[in-house]
């Protein structure tokens, strides 16, 4: 598998919701009976690091949707993504389970490769915009 589990989940959660849902719809008939273990919205607390003293503290909570499924092959898929779109997290959890069980992996990995390119391109554009604001300060 060209992508690690961490990479594939990260690429899927960062991808636009609709293409992920469309892909999950395509994969769905190959997964057999599906057991939904978790499908809810909730909060993830984000700790942060104080650069003055190294203290960890809570910056605030992030609204997320969380899904966990078990497919007929026995694999469990899991996803958390930002926002309250439960269909999105469910789609990612199904794709995660399919990857764990080796179902339609080439199709999913093709999608991951496309997403990787798109996400790298978006970051590259953002960082080139950032670089255009670099300034050299002079004192008189």
């Amino acid at each position: 598998m060209p992508y690690s589990h961490s990479q594939s989940l990260t690429l899927l959660t960062h991808a636009p919701a609709q293409p992920v849902k469309d892909l999950a719809e395509d994969i769905l008939p190959h997964l057999g009976d599906i057991q939904v273990l978790v499908n809810r919205t909730g909060l993830v607390m984000l700790p942060y690091t104080d650069t003055a003293t190294g203290t960890r503290f809570h910056l605030g909570e992030v609204l997320v949707s969380e899904s966990r499924v078990r497919i007929e092959a026995g694999a469990e898929g899991y996803a958390v993504c930002l926002g309250r779109d439960l269909e999105q997290s469910m789609a990612i959890a199904l794709l995660d389970a399919a990857l764990q069980a080796g179902i339609r992996t080439s199709l999913i990995e093709t999608f991951l490769a496309e997403q990787e390119q798109a996400q790298l391109a978006a970051d590259d554009l953002l960082l080139r915009q950032v670089e255009a604001t670099r300034v050299e300060m002079e004192t008189f």
């Binding site: 989940l9 993830v44 984000l46 650069t51 960890r56 910056l59 899991y78 604001t133 050299e136 300060m137």
Partner: protein
Amino acid sequence: MYVAAKGGEQAIQNAEQFYGLLNGPLTLEAVRLIQERLPYLVDRVMGEGSLYSPELAALALAQTGGDLYEAVLLLRAYRATQPRIAYAQPASADRLLTVRRISASFKDIPGGQILGPSLDYSHRLLRLDVLDAASSDQRSATNQTEERAVNGTGATNGSHQLSAIRYPPEFTPAERPSPPNQPAVADWQRGQGLLPPTEPEQIDPAAIPDVTTDTVMFPAPRAHRLQALARADTGGTLALGYSVMRGYGMIHPTVNELRLGYAEVELTHPVTGAVFSAGRVKVSQCEVISPDHGEQGYMLGFAATLGWNEVKLIAASTLDMDMSAGGENPAHTEEFVMYHTEPVEASGFCIHFKLPHYVTFASGLDNIRKMLGAMGWDQGKTTETAAPAAESESKAEDGEQVEEAVL
């Protein structure tokens, strides 16, 4: 004294609908527009609401007509309905996808000065040309409509100036990207011996002190102080921070580092243990620095928040430094700062005074009248103004204590 109330249900419903009528229809389009076009306002609501959800923050703003305290209250109330399902891996400055990082203390910081999205060095002039173009465009459209009415033609040859003005103007990105991560300026200073060495605290995120679940005691753990500042009211923080900057404090802050960026929300897969990012959230942080008159060369103040909110962070990090230094001024006192910059509690307590306090007031009035009577004041002169209160007193004496119209 708070009492039950009855009557006026229709008036209350009408008042709410009148409020909505003046704010315009609450639509998905309005929410999307706020989310896309007012990101700094959305960030402020998320930071003070202590809940990262641009969509819900925009909805709260649309629903309240832009009343920030009402919007923050809505977000906090929604947050209270949701379970906390996980703790993310701690985020830190050196791992942020950084889009802005500046220092006012050192110009040649490692990684350089990146202005990022900023109006710092821009002219603060209203773009009246946008309005003029819109007016011109509207006049043009009106003229064309009139021409059609007169000539029966739909031909147009006027230029639409609206489409000619692009604001904000586009710019050309650099050939090469900026590094995604930038080192902390403080680490560079530590390497030069200007600041004492420090290491990130090693602690289970679930064990970090939390003001939303713990009883806050003073002196507060530093984690409580920084969390309280992260969710503090921008205006309140600015007022107290400004007070110490102006002179009710001993410290002149210099911004050591101001940073805007995106933090990954990293979670652990419950089955395989793989760590993955559930997405990125906007965060900002600020350090201020000042000479330490004690043993160390310099001391730092720090603050961070969800979303991008620079003025709050500069004020909050200044307050952090002042609170650490101590002093007699209220803004140097942890308890004073933390209690009085909590937006929901402060605004809630303030606006509760507009709710009926008739019994409380009548009670005081009764005492004043007795006192005036004992002093020989002729109450007959004030019969007209005293009448309504007398009625209220009568009800209270009858044991009804019915003050206002809710049911």
